[in-house]
């Protein structure tokens, strides 16, 4: 008769081997699923960026893309998300001769041309090389806005196309990518993110902040008060703990005093009301409270609360030792353009102007159209 001990020893050995295999697999999976902190808005040289293009928006976005892409170096890859090859070819022909590489990401579904709000880029974890694109739970009004329903898929589209280099992850929270402003130690979150999530996905702000702290791996500052718009319309972190914050009162100095001229630039002219000024000043005060030196930048919002002549809607790049900023400018607002340029130059930036005249009436400018995937 065979004794029992060899079977018991075999079971123990089998459990041990299986445990070791599962441990190795588990660690590998955790490494594959993890990500680093949110990408900073101003640190490092831009290596890969994403724009979206649909032919219906050609008159709105092509002037912006032309101006911006002409500056990009040969080491920059531009992922062009487009519904089909014809759309991509149209964009490539329209931007003309450029030095950077355009890479088509053909998605075969409806979409908008606004890349910024689709996802947040999270750096690779230590020792890893995959960027994570963190997309919101859903897009606002996607049930009524078919293009937005398509936008919901773009993080996944990029991941599928770019393979191991990019991983897509969907959040349980509602947000737009433009509701965040991140640098190398802090991420500012707009109040509207709380309004969209409280009692919908989270019970309270503590829970919301805890999720953002865990996922974005930065100090989270949830603003209590701000203009009801995306962060990049009224604030920009520019390095060395300096925050640029829009100032309508400053903008007023350079805005045409003639009502006809004013209304030709903005629907209803400029909004210089006490209430609106207070919202911008509140952002400045909260930035100071978070440890930032605040520099004010001229801005002129319209009474609709959406159309802004803004100069913080910019893209910052480090090129060797040089700090470069791509800044919107608008035809018919020459004094404002010049005043804004001086603020950037006084901060030590080399300014490269980008014509956003065609896009701002659609509630966005350069920063709204271009999302940075890798620095």
């Amino acid at each position: 008769m065979t004794p029992r001990w060899p079977r018991l020893a075999g079971i123990a050995l089998g459990l041990g081997v299986a445990g070791i295999v599962l441990l190795i697999l588990g660690n590998a999976r955790i490494r594959a699923m993890s990500s680093g902190p949110i990408l900073s808005e101003h640190d490092g040289h831009i290596r890969e960026l994403v724009i979206q293009y649909i032919p219906e928006a050609r008159d709105i976005v092509l002037p912006v893309y032309r101006d911006f892409l002409k500056w990009q170096d040969p080491d920059v890859t531009v992922d062009v998300v487009a519904p089909d090859r014809a759309a991509f070819d149209e964009l490539a022909a329209a931007v003309g001769s450029i030095r950077c590489t355009l890479r088509p990401i053909l998605v075969h579904h409806s979409m908008t041309s606004w890349s910024r709000d689709r996802w947040l880029a999270l750096n690779p974890p230590p020792g890893g090389d995959s960027i994570t694109l963190w997309s919101p739970r859903g897009e606002a009004a996607s049930d009524l806005w078919p293009e937005r329903a398509g936008d919901e898929q773009i993080g996944t589209d990029l991941s599928k196309e770019l393979g191991h280099a990019v991983r897509a992850k969907r959040s349980s929270l509602f947000f737009d990518g433009g509701d965040f402003l991140a640098d190398n130690d802090t991420v500012f979150v707009m109040p509207r993110v709380l309004n969209r999530n409280i009692q919908q996905t989270v019970k309270n702000s503590t829970e919301l902040i805890a999720i953002f702290s865990r996922e974005l791996q930065r100090r989270v500052v949830l603003l209590n008060e701000a203009p009801d718009h995306h962060a990049g319309m009224f604030m920009a972190s520019v390095g060395d703990h300096v925050m640029l914050v829009g100032d309508p009162e400053l903008g007023r100095k350079y805005f045409p005093p003639s009502p006809v001229e004013a209304k030709s630039l903005l629907p209803g002219g400029g909004d210089f009301s006490v209430e609106t000024q207070h919202q911008f000043d509140a952002v400045a005060a909260q930035s100071e409270a978070a440890g930032y030196r605040v520099v004010r930048m001229p801005v002129v919002p319209a009474p609709d609360g959406r159309t802004f002549l803004t100069y913080v809607n910019s893209i910052i790049d480090e090129q060797d030792a040089k700090r470069v900023v791509y800044v919107p400018f608008y035809h018919g607002a020459d004094s404002l353009n010049a005043a804004a340029r001086k603020v950037w130059e006084d901060l030590g930036y080399t300014v490269r102007p980008v014509d956003c005249t065609s896009s701002y009436r659609y509630f966005g400018a350069l920063h709204c159209l271009v999302n940075i995937l890798r620095r």
Partner: protein, 177 residues
């Protein structure tokens, strides 16, 4: 140790390892999706003012078009051991569906608002309907919010504004496709 024993140990070990790995393997394969394990959605939003909790619903089967004047069903519950009074403001806001080319929707506009004060005994619940007497705009997304009308709570971020109900009067979704 006999060769027979070694053979038994090896075959039993292989079988055990195979059974365990077969049992756990699917979990590892499925775990490769990109889901984010944060909290699930909250099905019924609550607005909390002190010990009073409000929930709001539309009458069952409601659908709306431009010009309709919706009514809402309220439930207020005092979860405390003392009588409580909650002063809130109900606000209905609309957002027109924007141009397809826009970055975002237009700013919200107030359609209707009204203060509401509810007094409840300890652990008492009240159910009541609220008519709005305000015609809805067409082709819009409509949110019904509650926010605190009490100074004591107004500045508390978590009871600031809660969207209780959301619906749409848009009729041209198909044509927009």
């Amino acid at each position: 140790m006999k060769a027979e024993h070694i053979k038994t140990i090896c075959t039993t070990a292989a079988a055990t390892a195979a059974i365990v790995l077969a049992g756990f393997w699917p979990a590892f394969l499925n775990g490769a999706d990109d889901g984010n394990a944060v909290t699930p959605s909250i099905k019924t939003p609550k607005f909390v003012s002190g010990t009073v909790e409000f929930t709001v619903a539309l009458p069952e089967g409601s659908s709306f078009k431009a010009g309709d004047e919706p009514a809402f069903d309220f439930v207020a519950v005092n979860t405390g051991d003392q009588p409580a009074t909650a002063a809130v403001e109900a606000v209905m806001m609309s957002t027109t569906i924007p141009s397809r080319m826009s970055r975002s929707g237009a700013s919200q506009a107030i359609v209707w608002h009204e203060p509401l004060t509810v007094s409840l005994g300890p652990h008492e619940a009240k159910t009541f309907a609220k008519e709005t007497h305000a015609g809805l705009p067409g082709n819009s997304k409509v949110n019904f919010y509650l926010h605190s009308a009490s100074e004591a709570f107004r500045s508390v971020r978590d009871v600031g504004v809660v969207s209780m109900v959301e619906f749409s009067t848009a009729t041209d979704v198909q044509t927009r496709r």
